[in-house]
Symmetry: C2
Subunit: 202 residues, 2 copies
Amino acid sequence: MAPTYKLYYFDVAGRGEIIRYLLAYGNQSFEDIRIPKEEWPEYKKKTPYGQLPVLEVDGKPVAQSLAIARFLAKKFNLVGQNEWEALKCDELVDTLGDLGQKGMRYFREADPEKKETLKKQLFEEDVPYYLSKFEAVVSKNGGYTVGSQLTWSDFQFAGTLEEFEKRHPGLLKPYPALSGLVEKICNLPSIKAYREKSAQKK
Amino acid sequence: MAPTYKLYYFDVAGRGEIIRYLLAYGNQSFEDIRIPKEEWPEYKKKTPYGQLPVLEVDGKPVAQSLAIARFLAKKFNLVGQNEWEALKCDELVDTLGDLGQKGMRYFREADPEKKETLKKQLFEEDVPYYLSKFEAVVSKNGGYTVGSQLTWSDFQFAGTLEEFEKRHPGLLKPYPALSGLVEKICNLPSIKAYREKSAQKK
């Protein structure tokens, strides 16, 4: 019997979207359980480590967005064509995560003076540093983050960069290869269908 | 011809130790290049993303400690007995990383008042929360973080928990299974030999 999948996350894209994208791409039916904020304290106690997303596979729960994404990526042949490419996927996803963390540090800073310093560092140094490196990689690979075909890294980049652009419109403008990657992933028929269905629920 | 490995990192354990442990365990010879602090600004420009560790495999560089560790773990049969166990390794390593990040947030905080708040949260809530969960997992698995045999997750836990204990002596005392895991890894013949050689260099 085919395994059953239940994804528990909040009603946002965030760290759950890569999992939803991969399940949609793999044409794998799943329960997309979106926990309302007010029910979270009760759910939290039942999670493996106090966090979401959690994926249940045949009733067995597992945490950590990227761990889950990598697991699904293997199932759907999205981990590159060899072990070196699988490594490159992991390298890029974790490096993007480093940039995301710098963004979160700025986002969470309450002290206005420190926030201003972090903002300067983020938008004048970190963002151009990382995005120009990613741009060069994707440009060299003819539109892919790794190798010459689709990997889960592309999904993670598309989802994350789209969020960056939503929060800071124009951020991706100087990076045509990265913008093109976001567009390419969003226009995959399976992802397009998932996004339309997901938007209708709102 | 067998591939050649060069590891670039600083002269500390940190994020490089898991890679050194795995290469030692796999009996894989490698150049253990430790960059002196004063040479780092020059080296930094040559790294893929401005950070160490970087592993060079036959001259091709790759960044990100955990990505590299997972790549080596596959080579040395340390990723569990099936895809679910490989997933569980990733889940545990990333969850330990979450705890490590909370530790770093406390460690880096300059404001004494905020540091005190973070300290309380870290040592009275986060550390007991995570370590008691990890303790239960390792205890249930008869001394392993995943399944019933050695994985790269065990190396990451041993290295990280040993660092925690060094910084905060007594931290692991309430957790006999975790303490036992650290001891077990340190006493593997290959790891013991690497540690002795490494200590002699100092």
